[in-house]
């Protein structure tokens, strides 16, 4: 996955330098019983280790820092794990334009050679998987070589700056067939397939045309530049081969050893497929509302949430990625007094002699999608954006990406959920003023056993990127100093549907967190204003596990105790349960540390937005929580909370 996603920014405009990567994994829980594994399915622990190794190996070797990500666990990913890699590219303004080839320009393939690997890779990726998939489709898997890609990237950026090519695109899904076909849409092209450099002999022209071998890019090169270009690539031992010529006949013509093996009108190729129409239906599911009393002591529940697979520390994975390479690290994925607290978003300084930074964050929560994909999507947008705010960014220069992973769209209920999710993205992005600039979808993520078709949970990853003017204004989530005030910013509702508190109690509920992006934008703008003035010492966004988890994480990451009062939390509706206030996952909320002397100015900066001082940072080594009646509902040493959070994935 990673090799391909790195070539996307490389093939954007006239090419950009990859400066950061992200990775999000969705697997079945690592403690899934071996005896229950369906035929042909590897144990999730093995998949996690293998995928981790593959992604880290590739990213580390290319020298691209992996700075942000997430790992989610759900049994429905058992037969169909999801790996979502992202790469950010940096380009000079002049390169930020779509290239245009001219008839007579040469088609040049650069980078790796072509082999039989990855034939029908994309089709495989979208097929329903079964127990026989491994045997039947082994050749669908591309075999990557990161050093080939690294060599290619190094030279490509030099060729770009010398203006040696007019257009570039990556050879991704469909290999040459889609890269050449897309690039030549407005002109036409002829390709001599026997000229494509091969890893080994014996490939048919069809295999050459369809192979998805990695590390290849396609260039349109003016004839007068081709000699210099080929010599440049050769000087660093990288293949660059002329395989054809762009024409002006609006046709795709393929030859193999002078025999015509393909001839098609571009018009038909690009517009010949009639738009398909599918049926979509969606119905709000009803889950049983859990029925239990709010526990008198919430310590055990908090520890359970902290130790749940989705919330627990991912340090084991994070440290196996190089997040420092390229030398631009500003806010690392792990922060705090012991360098091991969960940072909200990462910041890098991609241009080493500039003060500007790039912030990368993500939002994902498939559990909400089990209730309503619309609110899942809106929540994911909100989560990604509030992480940007939490580290000192703002919404002025922010952009979003969406990755949809869904089941079989031919089934109306799956497609209905997808439509809901797209609507959620649309409304949230519009009101937040955050444009979607890229994305991807992967459908048919179902695994067929003899008995049933297991569909993955509707999974939407929202990534957010923002430009930061001055990285010196970054704020981290770890608590800084005893004596400071703890504020909550944003309104708390009774929104426990899909929450992690319910999850550890085996329930789902129905009241999924909603988003009011118009109000959210005002709040985020005000908070980032306060942070820009230097009034915030620590800020943590509230997501899985609500106030309870966020306060615990701030406390143990900073090694500073916290006392907070649930009856001070601003509520959007009457709530008479301590557990609901502590663990509700309402959106657009932050916990903020403010020095006593800055409290007035901080409150002034927030103006009409909802906020309240709910506690303080203390010299004790505990998180202490007082309930609605002022009773103590939680008093737990930070070390115990941290241990609960670190233990599960300390492999």
């Amino acid at each position: 996955g990673l090799g391909g996603v790195i070539r996307d920014p490389l093939g954007t405009g006239l090419g950009s330098k990859p400066i950061a990567s992200t990775d999000v994994f969705c697997f079945a829980p690592p403690d899934f019983p071996h005896s229950k594994l369906p035929a042909g399915v590897l144990h999730p622990r093995r998949i996690l280790k293998g995928v981790r190794a593959g992604v880290a190996d590739y990213g580390n070797r290319l020298g691209i820092p992996t700075i942000n990500g997430a790992i989610l666990f759900d049994e429905r990913y058992l037969g169909n794990p999801i790996v979502l890699c992202g790469t950010v590219g940096l380009m000079p303004k002049e390169a930020a334009q779509m290239g245009r080839q001219k008839p007579g320009d040469l088609v040049v393939v650069v980078g790796g050679k072509t082999g039989r690997d990855g034939i029908h890779g994309v089709t495989f990726a979208s097929a329903l998987l079964t127990g026989e998939s491994e045997e039947v489709s082994a050749s669908s898997v591309q075999i990557g070589n990161p050093i080939t890609e690294k060599k290619m990237i190094d030279v490509l950026l030099v060729a770009r700056d010398k203006g040696l090519y007019r257009r570039i695109t990556d050879c991704g899904g469909g290999g040459l067939s889609s890269a050449v076909g897309e690039m030549a849409a407005e002109t036409g092209v002829r390709v001599d397939l026997e000229k494509v450099p091969l890893k080994y002999s014996g490939l048919s022209y069809r295999e050459i045309w369809l192979s998805e071998s990695q590390e290849r890019m396609l260039l349109a090169v003016p004839p007068e530049s081709v000699e210099e270009l080929v010599a440049l690539f050769a000087s660093e031992d990288v293949e660059a081969t002329v395989i054809g010529e762009f024409t002006n006949d609006k046709k795709l013509r393929l030859f193999y050893q002078n025999s015509a093996v393909g001839d098609m009108d571009m018009e038909f190729l690009h517009h010949g497929l009639p738009q398909s129409e599918r049926e979509a239906a969606w119905e709000l599911p009803r889950y049983p509302e859990p029925d239990f009393d709010s526990p008198l002591n919430l310590s055990q529940d908090l520890k359970k949430i902290l130790g749940s697979w989705n919330v627990c520390s991912k340090e084991w994975v994070i440290r196996q990625y190089d997040h420092e390479v390229q030398g631009g690290s500003v806010l690392k994925p792990l922060v705090g007094i012991e360098n091991d607290g969960p940072g909200d978003a990462a910041i890098i300084r991609p241009v080493l002699d500039s003060d500007m930074g790039v912030i990368i964050a993500n939002g994902i929560n498939p559990r909400y999608g089990d209730i309503d994909p619309y609110w899942m999507a809106a929540s994911a947008v909100d989560e990604a954006l509030r992480q940007i705010i939490a580290v000192g960014g703002n919404l002025k220069k922010v952009a979003l990406l969406d990755n949809f992973n869904w089941g079989n769209p031919e089934k109306p209920d799956r497609l209905g959920g997808l439509v809901r999710a797209a609507q959620g993205c649309y409304h949230a992005a519009l009101d937040y003023g955050a444009p979607f600039i890229s994305g991807k979808d992967s459908l048919y993520n179902e695994y067929e056993t003899e008995k049933e078709s297991i569909c993955i949970p509707p999974t939407l990853l929202i990534s957010a990127m923002a430009v930061m003017k001055d990285v010196a204004k970054a704020v981290s989530m770890d608590a800084k100093k005893a004596g400071d005030l703890l504020y909550i910013v944003g309104m708390t509702y009774n929104e426990m549907g899909g929450s992690h508190y319910y999850a550890v109690r085996g329930a789902m509920g129905n009241r999924v967190p909603q988003v009011n992006p118009k109000r959210g934008k005002k709040l985020m703008d005000a908070l980032s204003g306060a942070m820009d003035k230097g009034l915030v010492k620590a800020c943590h966004d509230l997501s899985e596990g609500g106030i309870g988890v966020a306060a615990a994480e701030m406390g143990f990451a900073g090694g500073v105790g916290i006392t907070l009062k649930l009856n001070k939390v601003p509520l959007g509706e009457p709530i008479n349960r301590n557990d609901t206030i502590l663990f509700s996952e309402s959106n657009t909320r932050f916990l903020v540390e403010v020095a006593l002397e800055d409290a007035k100015r901080f409150e002034g900066a927030l103006g009409e937005n909802v906020y309240a001082a709910i506690g303080e940072f203390t010299k004790s080594d505990k998180l202490e929580v007082y309930g609605i009646e002022g009773e103590k509902v939680l008093s737990t040493p930070l070390a115990e909370l941290k241990e609960a959070w670190q233990k599960p994935l300390r492999w």
Partner: protein, 235 residues
């Protein structure tokens, strides 16, 4: 004063060259970057520089073992140029993969027959790790790069950084850097010693102190904002 001419040596898979060049520029050097092919073709000559740096990365994919192929290339294709360069008082710095290269080329530690006396094996954790480490500088060390420095705090990012040597070679090593705990005491305990290096060795030099190699990445801590706790500790 004339600026020090520094050469950053690149090979396929080198990936810390840009920030290493930046670091030397910040320190006041004039920096050129050269692909190893350019040196082999004699388009550029080592003799024209005063410092040669082999930066971090995964040269040639670390196939066979980390740094091995570039090491052979330097030894067999550029060995004479390098001997002359060192003999003429030139400085060589190897960072991370550069350390692995210098060791496997037999340039460090020096030996009469230029054979390899030391290696960098898989970390004890048997995985790649990226974390910050405390380093103690050996006061006896002749290393010219660490003059006037007692302690360092730098990131490591490697999977093969465990120094192992023949017992005989170990005694004669010029150890420059050792992994230490927060208080600066040399430590053999994980994660302070992140890879299980013998004698907690993180960096060594030759007898002259002019060839220096280390696993941590000094080019990744040029600014306060790179420190993992810059947001909470005073400058």
């Amino acid at each position: 004063m004339a600026k020090v001419r520094t050469l950053i040596l690149r090979a396929p898979g080198t990936n810390c060259d840009v920030e290493t060049a930046f670091a030397f520029e910040q320190a006041g050097a004039t920096v050129s970057s050269a692909h190893v092919n350019e040196l082999v073709r004699k388009d550029k000559r080592i003799a024209d520089y005063q410092i040669v740096v082999i930066p971090g990365g995964f040269t040639y994919g670390d196939d066979i073992s980390a740094g091995k192929i570039l090491a052979n290339e330097l030894k067999l294709k550029l060995g004479e140029d390098i001997q002359k360069f060192v003999g003429g008082g030139g400085l060589i710095l190897g960072i991370c993969n550069g350390f692995q290269v210098l060791v496997k080329a037999g340039f460090l530690p020096q030996s009469p027959d230029a054979s390899q006396k030391l290696t960098l094996a898989n970390n004890d954790s048997s995985r790649f790790e990226c974390r910050w480490v405390y380093l103690s500088v050996d006061k006896q060390s002749p290393c010219v790069f660490t003059k006037g420095i007692d302690a360092l705090y730098l990131p490591i990012a490697h999977g093969e950084g465990k120094v192992m040597a023949e017992p005989k070679a170990l005694g004669g090593l010029n150890v420059v850097l050792r992994y230490a705990d927060k208080e600066g005491n040399i430590s053999a305990d994980y994660p302070y010693n992140p890879n299980g290096s013998v004698d907690s060795i993180a960096g060594i030099s030759d007898d002259s102190g002019r060839i220096f190699a280390l696993m941590p990445h000094p080019e990744r801590f040029l600014r306060w904002t790179q420190h993992p706790r810059w947001v909470r500790e005073a400058n």
